[in-house]
Symmetry: C2
Subunit: 268 residues, 2 copies
Amino acid sequence: MADPYVHGYHPRESARLQDQAATLVDLLHCDTFYPPGSLVLEAGCGVGAQTLPLAKNSPGARIIALEISGSSAAEAERQVAAAGIANVRVLQGDIFRLPFRKASFDHLFVCFVLEHLPKPVEALSALREFIKPGGSITAIEGDHGSAYFHPDSLAARRAIGCQVTLQERAGGNAMIGRELYPLLVRAGFAEVSVSPRMVYADGSRPAMADGFTRKTFTAMIEGVRDAALAAGLMREREFDTGVADLYRTAEEDGVFCYTFFKATGKKG
Amino acid sequence: MADPYVHGYHPRESARLQDQAATLVDLLHCDTFYPPGSLVLEAGCGVGAQTLPLAKNSPGARIIALEISGSSAAEAERQVAAAGIANVRVLQGDIFRLPFRKASFDHLFVCFVLEHLPKPVEALSALREFIKPGGSITAIEGDHGSAYFHPDSLAARRAIGCQVTLQERAGGNAMIGRELYPLLVRAGFAEVSVSPRMVYADGSRPAMADGFTRKTFTAMIEGVRDAALAAGLMREREFDTGVADLYRTAEEDGVFCYTFFKATGKKG
C-alpha cells in the first residue's frame, strides 16, 4: 500500500502562516488534499460546512459524508448539489454504527465532532477500524480556552465560560483542541502531528474581525444566552455586558485571538 | 528615501509556520533581516539574548544595543565578544534619554521591553523620533494570558496570575502582546502589521517542551515564588502545586501553548 501522504498531503509545503489566511476555511483546510481515487470518510458532516472546501480541494477523491441528523444531512446534500460538487455522497447514519466494512477508507476526516463526544478516545479508536492500513486521519477542533482579546473583560470571559460549562454538561469538551495530540496517540494512531491554527483579528484585518470575531465566535456565545440564563450560570445583565465586550474587540483598536488545532495521524 | 523593507524584510516569504520552528529564537527572529549598511537601534538589550540572533541575521547592518543596567550591558558586551560578532556596539544608557540625534536610525528593534513600561505608547512615540523617515520598528512581546495547557490546572493558572499581578504592581503589563497593534497605531506608526508566533509543545516536540515549557516558562513562574508568597498572592502549597502542574504539561502526554506577538510598523 503506497503512502497516500507522500503524494497528497504536504502540510509543511503548503501550510501558511495564520496571518496570511484570508478566511477561516483557508486557515483550516488549505493544506488538506486527498489523492485522486482515494476514498474519504467525513464522520459527522453536519450541514456540510467543511464538506464543501474538502471536496473542492480534492476533486479526484470520493468523499462519503456521514451525518446522524436527517435534517442536517438533507441540508448538506442541498449544499453539495447547489455547489455543483459531484464527488461527495451524503449519508444519514451514526458514526458509532458505521454501515461500512472495516478498513474501507483511505482517509478519515473529523471536524468539530470530537468536542461533542463524552468518550473521544473510544470514538477515535472505533473510527480507526474503518481506515485501511497506512491510511490517515485528520481531526480539527477549536478550543474555547484559547480565546483572549483586547480590551480584556471579565464578563466576556465568563460568558465564554457559560458555553464551556453547557457543553460540558451535555457530555462534551469545548476546550478539546489542545488535547488532540494525546487523544490521537491514545486511540492508537501513529505519526501524530498537530498544527495549531491561530485566528488573529486586529484593525488591519477587518474581514477577519467581522467574519470571525463578530459573526462566528461572538454570535456563537450570544447563541447560548437563553440556556446560560436558564441554567443560572450568569445574570442577564452581566452576560449581555460580556457579549457587548466581545463585539467591542472587533472594533478598529480591538484584538481577538482564538486557536484551532489540526491533527493528522496514520493507521500504522 | 528607499524603502528598506523592500530589500531587507520579507515577513511573508521567510516566515514559517510556528510548528516548523525548531527553537524560540527561530520562531521570533527568523524573518528579521536588516540591509547592509543600515543602522539599527536595539532599545533595551538586556544581557544580549536577542542581540546575538539579530546581529547574526544581518551581518552587514550596524547595531547599537542600548541597556540601562551597567551589569547587563557588560554581560551583553561579553556575549557579543564571545560570539565573535563585530557589527554590534553595546552602550549603557536610558532609552528615554537617548544619546543620539533624532532621526538617526534606519530601524528600531524592541523586544521584551514594552511589557515593563508604565506608559508604552508614550515610550514608543518618544523612540519613534529617533527613526529616520521611512524607517521601521519591530516590537516583540509575550502575553501571559495566552498560556494554556493540558492537563489544565487552576493552581497553575493562579501561579501564572501571580507573575501577572507582580508585573502589574511594578508598572508593567505581562499581557501586552495582544495589544501591540493598537499601541503602535496610537504611537503614530504606519503600516502596522502583527504576526502572532505561537509556541506549541506536545509529546512529538520534546525539545520545545524541555526548552520552552520547562526551562523558559515554568522556570520563570517558579522564579517569582518568593515575591508571590511574600505579597500573599497565593499560599505556598498551592503555588508549588501550580508549578508542579506546569512541569507536568511538559511530559509526553502533556501540551503547552503560549503566544508571542511580533509587530512591525513604519515611520511614515
